[in-house]
Every structure is written in C-alpha cells, then in structure tokens.
C-alpha cells in the first residue's frame, strides 16, 4: 500500500478512501471466484462436484421445464392422426373424398404396433399425416422404427406378418415418437359397417383435441412425481453449493479475522457460490442438450419423444437458469451467518449453537396435517383446494425431512458419544462438525424419501393393473378372434392355427346374436329388442364353457350362471332370428324343444357364457352370416415364440384377426422401468453425495496429518482410525436413510389411503436404496483409507 495511494490494494473494508462501488464488487466477487479453486486438488474437486451437482439439477429442472411442451407436442400428434370419430352424430355417406379405415394393431413381443388398414373410396380420399400417398391394396407404409425392426434379425418372426411390399415410410408428422412402431396397409377388402369393427368411413384425419379427465390416481401420481422429483433436485442443488463448506467457512472466517467486514465476506462468498453455480448451469445446459439427443432412444410405455419436442418453455427455462444461481448464492449467504458473527469460533472449531427442534418439526407436522384429512376419493382435479393441499402437504413433508435431518443427526450423535475409541472419535467429530455431513446427506434423504413414496404409489398402480385379468392360462394361452365371412371359416382357421408350430391343442366356436322376432314389434314402439347370444361349438368346446356331463352333436343348451334360465330369455321351441335383424335375409331358427338348462362355467379367457349354446348339428343347414369366430389355443409353455407364429398365421387368414395372449397377471414392463429409473436416480444422487462426503473426509484427513501422526506415535492402530472414518461416514448416511424411509413410507401410506389402495411396503425398493447407501459408505471409507494410511506415516510429526 503506497502512502499516497488512493486505492488500497488489499485493504479490507475500505479504509479512508473506499474503492468505488463497482470495483469493490468485482474485486470481492473475483476474490471469491479465485477462492473456489484454492486448496489444491481438493479445491478443484470440490468446485467440480458443486458444478456437477448443480449441473445435474439443471438438467432435471430443464427437463421438467420441457414437460408442458412435450405433452403439448404429444397431444398434437395424437390429434393430428385421429381417425376414430365414432362419437360423431351423423353417418357419413360414401363419396369420392372418403376413406375406409380399420384398426389392425398388433403386438410383437412386448411392443405394441399401431396398424391401420386404409381403403380409399374415391380419388380425393384423405391422406393420414406423415404419408405422401395412400398405399395401394396390399401395399405397406411403415414407420422407420418398424422398418428397422423388420430388417433386423430381431424382427425375423415378425416378417411373415408383413409379407407385403413396403412402398414408403411414415414421416415424423404421423408418429408420436421416433421409436413408435406403426404401419398403414392398403386394402380393397373393407366394407363399411356402421360403427362396427370392420371399417370406419372418414373424410379427414385429425381432431380437435378433446381432453379427458384423468383418474385421481393419475393426477396424484403426476403431482407427486413433480413434487418428489423437483424438490430433491432443489434441495440437492442447495446442498451441492455447500460441498466442502466447512473448510470454506473456516477460510472465510480467517478472511474476516484478517479484517474483512461482513458485507465483504458476503460478497466473497457470493462470488464463490456464483462461480460454482455458473459452471453448474453451463454444465447443466450442455448436459441437457446431450440428454435431449438421447431422449429419442428411450421408450417408455411404448412412448418415445422426438428431441425437437423436448423444448423447455422460455419462461420456465429462464427461471431455471436464473433461479439456480440465485439459490446457490442465497444458500451461501445463509450459511455465512455464523462466519460473520463469530469467525473466531469457526476458526477454532468451537461448538456452535444447538439446533432447535420446534420449527423443524413444524414442517412435517403441517405436511401431515395438510394430507391426512383428505379423505379417500378426494376430487383432485385442477384448481381444487385438494390439489393445492396435496402438493403443499407433500412439499412440507419432504422439506420436513430436510429440516429434521440435521437436528436428528445432532441429537442422535450427542447421545452416542460413548463407546469404543473409534466410535468416540467419530461421534465427537460429528458432534463438532456434523453440520457438513448432515447437509451433504440431506439431499439424498429427500430424494430417497420421495423415491420410496413414489415406489409405493407405483407399486399400487402396478398391482391395480396386474391383478385380476381373470384369465386362466393353464387352460388356454392364446385366443384368436375375427369376424368371419361364414361359419366354415372357423374350421379353416382352427386347422391352420393347429398346424402352427408351438400350438399344442385348441378348439373353436362361433358367436351370433339372436333376436326374438316377436319382440321386434315393440322395438318399433321405442323399446329395446331382446338380443341374446348364440354360441356354436362342438361338444369338446362346450365342455369348457358349461357344466355338462353329456353332450352329443345336435344338442342345444341354455346356459346361465345359476342353471335356471331368466324368464325373459327365449324359450325352447321359440323361433328366433339369427344375426342382424335389419338384414333382410336374416335366417330364422327354431330353438329345439330338447334344449336343456345348464349352469355356465368360466372359460379360459375369463368369460362366462350365458345364452344359447348349440352344437353345429343343431343348426346345420342354415347359412349363418358374419359369425364371430373365436379360437382358443394352447401353446407350448416353453416356446415364447409360439404366440408370434400364431399372430402370423392369424394375420395370414385375415389382417383384421385379433390375437390376445392370456396371462394370469399382466406383467407390467413399464412399472419395472420406472422403478428402475427411480432407483438409478436415487443411486446417482447417493453416489454424488458419496463423492462430496469423500472430498470432505479427505480434506479433513489432510488437515490433521499432524494429529494422525501423533496418534500413531501413541500406538493407535490403523484399524482404530479406519473404523473411526467408517463410523463418521456411516452414521449420517444411515440416519438419513432411516428418516427417508420413515418419511417416504409415511407419505406413501397417506397418499395410498387417499386413492383407496391398500398400504403395502415396497421392500425391494427400500432394500435397494438402503443397500446402495451402505455401499456408498463403504466406498467412501475405502477410498479414504489409502490417504489415511499414507498420513499415518511419521512424516506428519515434522512441523510444517
């Protein structure tokens, strides 16, 4: 400092001629930024960890900011290709601008394939989005993903189903996502059956999107997902800012002791926080752009997303990019309180003031208070008070975890002081400097609590979806159904299916509807005509559906669950119409007087057949139109490809054939994926937190090289000190996990109660997260041991 100089170079606090406002700010901020890298390798690592932590947070937050646009794009794409207007009130007459369409969706392995049959009825027939021309009859247009699948060895079993010339690919405009499997097949076989399954007449594609109300469960899921995903991210960002904070506090306190005033200390800290945050935001944006390219690779619920559709809305994106550094600086400033007030205590590592319980407890209590009164079946739709209540309740509960954890660690650790020497050393360490470890694990606690709650919800949702298909795959495994030309087709179909490799046995039947012509008259007076089912099948098949002992060709049965037919049912001897009563040539049939009343059984597909059951001999001679043909097949249990071959055969008979594979429980691939995703997310957070714990431990070990050497001189064993490091890492993590599981299960239970689901623990998820936590503890300890051993050499006794 020159005596006559106007600007002290490093004069803290200004002096006689304080530097002008902006230069003071830049000076302090850059000093802070420089400090971010001070401290050698650990300093870099610490800043890098902060940047990575914030970066991960920014990636997730930007992802969430893109969700509205993703959903908008998705609904737009769905609406653009809509072709089912069966809710339309007027029938469309055939014209030169109409098109017949029919859904021929199929499945291949675990994938859904969207298929449409297209048959133009004139030159101006509408074109579905993504197509440049309508395929001719027997011509195929496929999506790029389906084309790839068909070309790959993986698609070998699918190829026989698509033995048509491929004349084009569906463009982006006609697909929901890059990985969607879809095709259009040209046809000339379709006929319009008003609102029927065979074909729909349309004159345009695309609909004004009509939103359907979501189920409360789904709304809840979405709300909680947002809260549970975003909150840990925010908490994590806040804790990432404080990685290695203890060390930094002491440095800032030293700065303050040298003469920096409170404001300057704050500016330096802000500079340090800003640098980490800026690096993090930069990293996050890059990470987001990279991750976005991978968005097209991921397929969830058969859904994939075009990277171009993953666009954060400008407002939300800006909010993220500005709010994250603001949070970083805010957290840094908040943490400075003690440094500014009693820097000496920080430098000398004196014990700070005790944490208070009451306000920390207020948060979760308020959270439970908000959630608990919500009775089962509460209306959760947009804008309701209940929705706000659920969201704030969940937020408060999770924030409560963040607030309670440091207190919990402090209280538990204060009571754990006595024990073996390693234990004592670790506990005392935590008692004095536990804040840092507590802060580090808060992020993971909130994330884990959220993950546990989500997994419980998903578990319930998955159970709700898997339970009770009512199907009995021990009797049959595949059901093929189609609307046939005539009853004879059933025989062909059955034969071809039985000849398919992997199919072991099967039986077929045909379904018709019958109408009592006598009751047709009241129909004209405005009341419903009586319509019953007639099933035609041979005795072997009937035995699957009815409780009968004797059966011969020519027999007719009248089936009902009780065995006593309903008095309104048609009686034996009555004359009925088979098929569509509006068809002029619908055949008549007299129910034989020998028809017996029997009890119906539940067949393999879970259906209970009631109504008339006839053997073919009983109605032979009648040319029965448009039978519903159903063939139930048994396939080789050990041949997973059998179902694909059955689908191929069925498609060969009629592209409109419907093939269902029966399962006792529908295995839900998607829930497994989400659970895995949650677990991976929690694990990644854990690892990051582990890294920050590791940096803290290494820093701390390095700081006490002399002390370690002294302890070694005293004859302290390696194992004693290693164990102390282990406990020191394990206790905060274990406490965090315990609190997280408790809060997560609590939140999950309250939420499940709201949607009438039984509370069931997701032990596998909890176990996975806990095991991961244990692993992280071991990893941190293991990785700090080499340094510990190195520092335990006598070199440390030499004065620095």
């Amino acid at each position: 400092m020159t005596p006559g100089g106007t600007q002290p170079e490093l004069g803290f606090g200004g002096g006689e001629h304080p530097p002008r406002f902006p230069s003071r700010w830049t000076r302090d901020l850059t000093l802070g930024a420089r400090l971010a890298f001070a401290g050698g390798r650990e300093g870099w690592l610490r800043t890098a960890l902060t940047a990575i932590g914030i970066g991960l947070g920014v990636v997730l937050l930007l992802g969430c900011a893109a969700v509205p646009n993703i959903l908008r794009a998705h609904t737009g794409r769905v609406a653009a290709r809509a072709d089912d207007f069966s809710f339309a009130t007027t029938d469309l007459p055939r014209g030169d601008a109409t098109l017949l369409v029919a859904d021929i969706d199929t499945r291949y392995r675990e994938w859904n394939i969207r298929g449409q049959l297209l048959q133009p009825e004139g030159p101006r027939a509408p074109l579905p989005p993504g197509l440049s021309a309508l395929p001719g009859p027997g011509q195929l247009v496929v999506s790029p993903a389906l084309a790839r699948l068909l070309d790959s060895p993986d698609g070998a079993l699918l190829r026989p189903r698509f033995e048509y010339p491929v004349v084009g690919t569906i463009g982006e405009a006609g697909l929901l996502g890059p990985n969607e499997y879809a095709f259009y097949l040209g046809s000339d076989q379709l006929e319009e059956v008003s609102r029927g399954p065979i074909g729909r007449r349309i004159d345009h594609f695309g609909a004004v999107h009509a939103s359907q109300p979501l189920s409360p469960m789904l709304i809840l899921l979405v709300l909680i997902i947002f809260v549970v995903l975003l909150l840990p991210v925010v908490v994590f960002v806040a804790t990432a800012v404080r990685f290695g904070g203890e060390h930094r506090d002491r440095r800032l306190a030293a700065l303050r002791l040298v003469g920096a005033d409170g404001a300057m200390t704050r500016r330096v800290a802000a500079g340090e926080g800003l640098l980490g945050a800026a690096l993090g935001v930069g990293l996050g944006i890059v990470g987001f752009l990279v991750a976005r390219e991978f968005a097209g690779v991921v397929t969830l619920y058969d859904q994939s997303v075009y990277p171009a559709d993953v666009r954060p809305s400008l407002a939300l994106g800006l909010l993220v990019v500005l709010a994250v550094p603001a949070v970083a600086v805010g957290v840094n400033l908040l943490a400075l309180r003690r440094v500014v007030i009693e820097p000496l205590g920080v430098v000398r590592q004196a014990a700070g003031t005790r944490r208070r319980l009451w306000w920390r407890l207020t948060l979760p209590v308020l959270g439970v208070a908000a959630l608990y009164p919500l009775s089962p079946g509460t209306d959760l739709r947009d804008g309701t008070v209940a929705q706000i209540q659920v969201t704030t309740g969940a937020i408060l509960l999770l924030l409560g975890v963040a607030a309670l954890l440091p207190w919990l660690i402090e209280v538990v650790v204060a009571r754990l002081g006595t024990g073996s020497v390693p234990w004592q050393l670790a506990m005392r360490r935590l008692q004095l400097g536990g804040g840092t470890s507590a802060r580090a694990v808060v992020g993971v606690a909130v994330a884990a609590a959220g993950a546990v709650a989500l997994q419980m919800l998903f578990g319930a949702a998955a159970r709700a979806n898997t339970v009770s298909t009512g199907q009995d795959p021990s009797r049959i495994q595949v059901e093929v159904s189609l609307i046939g030309q005539d009853s004879a087709q059933e025989v062909t179909l059955l034969h071809r299916l039985l000849a398919t490799p992997g199919v072991t046995s099967g039986y077929g039947m045909t379904h018709f509807s019958i109408v009592d012509p006598a009751q047709l008259k009241p129909h004209s007076q405005g009341s419903q005509p009586g319509i019953w089912d007639l099933t035609v099948a041979d005795c072997a098949s009937l035995r699957q559906m009815l409780v009968i002992d004797e059966c011969a060709d020519g027999d007719v049965f009248q089936a009902s669950p009780t065995g006593a037919p309903d008095p309104t049912d048609p009686h034996p001897g009555e004359r009925v119409l088979i098929g569509d009563p509006d068809q002029p040539n619908a055949p008549h049939w007299t129910i034989p007087a020998t028809a017996r009343a029997v009890r119906s059984a539940t067949d393999a597909s879970g259906l209970t057949y009631t109504g008339l059951m006839a053997t073919p001999g009983a109605i032979s001679g009648s040319a029965l139109p448009r039978p519903g043909i159903v063939v139930d097949l048994r396939a080789d249990d050990d041949d997973p490809d059998a179902i694909e071959r059955v689908r191929n055969t069925a498609a060969g008979v009629d592209p409109l054939a419907d093939v269902t594979s029966l399962r006792a429980t529908a295995e839900n691939h998607n829930f497994a994926v989400i659970r895995r995703g949650l677990a991976i997310g929690a694990l990644a957070t854990l690892l990051l937190v582990g890294a920050s714990l590791l940096v803290g431990t290494l820093e701390q070990l390095r700081e006490r090289r002399r002390l370690l050497a002294v302890l070694v001189a005293f004859g302290t064993k390696r194992t004693t000190l290693s164990r102390s490091v282990l406990w020191q890492t394990a206790i905060p993590v274990l406490l965090a996990m315990a609190l997280a599981v408790l809060a997560g299960v609590g939140l999950g239970a309250i939420l499940l109660r709201m949607v009438h689901e039984p509370v069931r623990m997701d032990w596998s998820g909890i176990g996975l997260i806990t095991a991961a936590a244990g692993l992280v503890v071991l990893l941190v300890t293991g990785l700090s041991l080499p340094l510990l051993y190195r520092l335990m050499r006598p070199d440390g006794l030499r004065t620095e």
């Binding site: 590592q349 004196a350 014990a351 006595t418 004592q424 005392r428 302890l711 005293f714 004859g715 064993k717």
Partner: protein, 233 residues
C-alpha cells in the same frame, strides 16, 4: 567411538550407532545414547542436527537404516509394526510441540485416550485421567475442548496424557516450544516432578537451555552424531 561397543548395561533404552538418511540428507550418522530408568535426558543441538529423528528412532516410530535400538533387552527392529505400536501404547508416552490433542475430544477424554487405546474401560480411564489433570493443575479444563484452552494449559493436558499410562519412557519433542518462558517453565516443573514421582524416564528434545536445565544430563547431537556421551555414561 568405543561407546558403541559397550553393552547396554543398566540402560533401559539404548540407541547404538544409529544411521538414518532421508534421500540424500543424512539425518543420523552414528548416534549413540543410553537412557537409564527414571532419568531425564535433554537432547540438544542445532536445528536440523537430527534430534527429532533420533527421538523417533528411539520410540520405534521410525526405523533406522543401521544401528540398534534396544528397549528393556529387546531390539525394536526385531519387532513387528503392531508390536511396536503396542509397546508405544503401554510403555511409552509422548509430548509434542503443538497440535497433538484431538480437537473434538474434551481435555479429559484426550488424557484418557491412551488408556482407552490399550483397552481400559471408559470409567476407569477417565478416573485416572482426572487424577493426572489434577497433578498437572489443569483440573478446571477437563470438560473443555482443546480449542478452548490456552497453549500452556493444552501442553499440560498433553503432559498428563503422556503420563497417564504410567509409561517407563516419555518422549518429549520441544514440549515448551510454543510457550513463553514462564509457562514453559511451569510445564517443565510439573512435567519433571510428575515423571520423577512415577519413575518415568524422559527423553527431552529442546534447544532452550533453561528447559534443558530440568534434565539430569544432556546429550548433544551435531550433524547426526552424538557427542559427550562417554563423559557421562
């Protein structure tokens, strides 16, 4: 030097012709020293002459390149690392210049630490530690942590910790180095008194003559060699 050939005789701890190099620097180049039970020996010499290295070799913390260290008839270099650690726990005590107390533990716990490391129960260890704090006149700091006590008090706590196991040898490397003369002398007075009363030998590295005056005799180390050994042995 004939001293190196003499049997260790009535010595409790003997270093015979020790050599130790760190890279190119020879820290010890033929140091010989005998410590009899209960005697206080000052190790003096200019800075960098190898005093601390000699102390570390004597205590079995550093293994000399050549020469022997014999404690109570046992050669230290023949012992394994864990045996030497055990020896240090039970037979030796240490006082250093600074930074030796565990900052998180209270002074009482710091003093009890060596006992606990050798498996003494907590209550018993603390009872004995309290006794030593009393003898070193620092009872009032028992519940405080090292960050909260003065340098002199901390050093007396460290001395109490070195004495708490009733060691047969205490190694002190510049124990008063960070203290003013009044405090330094107070520490030395209590230290030597306590060591004498419990019959512990003391190896005291210092370059302060007034501190060395608390010893029974001195050994001078120069360029890694001891001198004046024959004159008193």
């Amino acid at each position: 030097m004939t001293a190196s050939e003499r049997p260790s005789g009535d010595a409790l701890l003997a270093a015979i012709d020790l050599q130790k190099s760190f890279g190119a620097t020879a820290a010890l180049a033929g140091a010989t020293l005998r410590i009899r039970p209960g005697e206080v020996v000052a190790v003096m010499g200019p800075s960098g002459s190898g005093k601390s290295t000699l102390l570390h070799c004597l205590a079995g913390i550093v293994r000399p390149d050549a020469g022997r260290v014999v404690y109570a008839g046992r050669e230290l270099s023949a012992l394994s690392d864990s045996e030497r650690s055990a020896l240090r726990r039970s037979e030796f005590g240490f006082v250093f210049q600074f930074g030796q107390l565990v900052p998180e533990l209270t002074c009482l716990e710091n003093v009890a630490l060596p006992l606990r490391l050798s498996g003494v129960r907590r209550r018993e260890a603390q009872r004995r530690a309290t006794g030593w704090l009393d003898r070193l006149e620092v009872t009032d700091v028992a519940g405080k942590r090292p960050g909260e006590v003065s340098g002199g008090q901390g050093q007396r706590v460290a001395v109490a910790r070195a004495l708490v196991t009733d060691p047969r040898v205490i190694f002190a490397d510049e124990p008063t180095g960070a203290l003013d003369s009044l405090n330094g002398e107070r520490v030395m007075r209590l230290f030597t008194k306590a060591a004498k009363s419990s019959g512990s030998a003391v190896v005291l590295v210092t370059h302060e003559p007034r501190v060395a005056a608390y010893s029974d005799r001195e050994v001078v180390v120069r360029d890694g060699r001891t001198r004046a050994e024959e004159m008193v042995a």
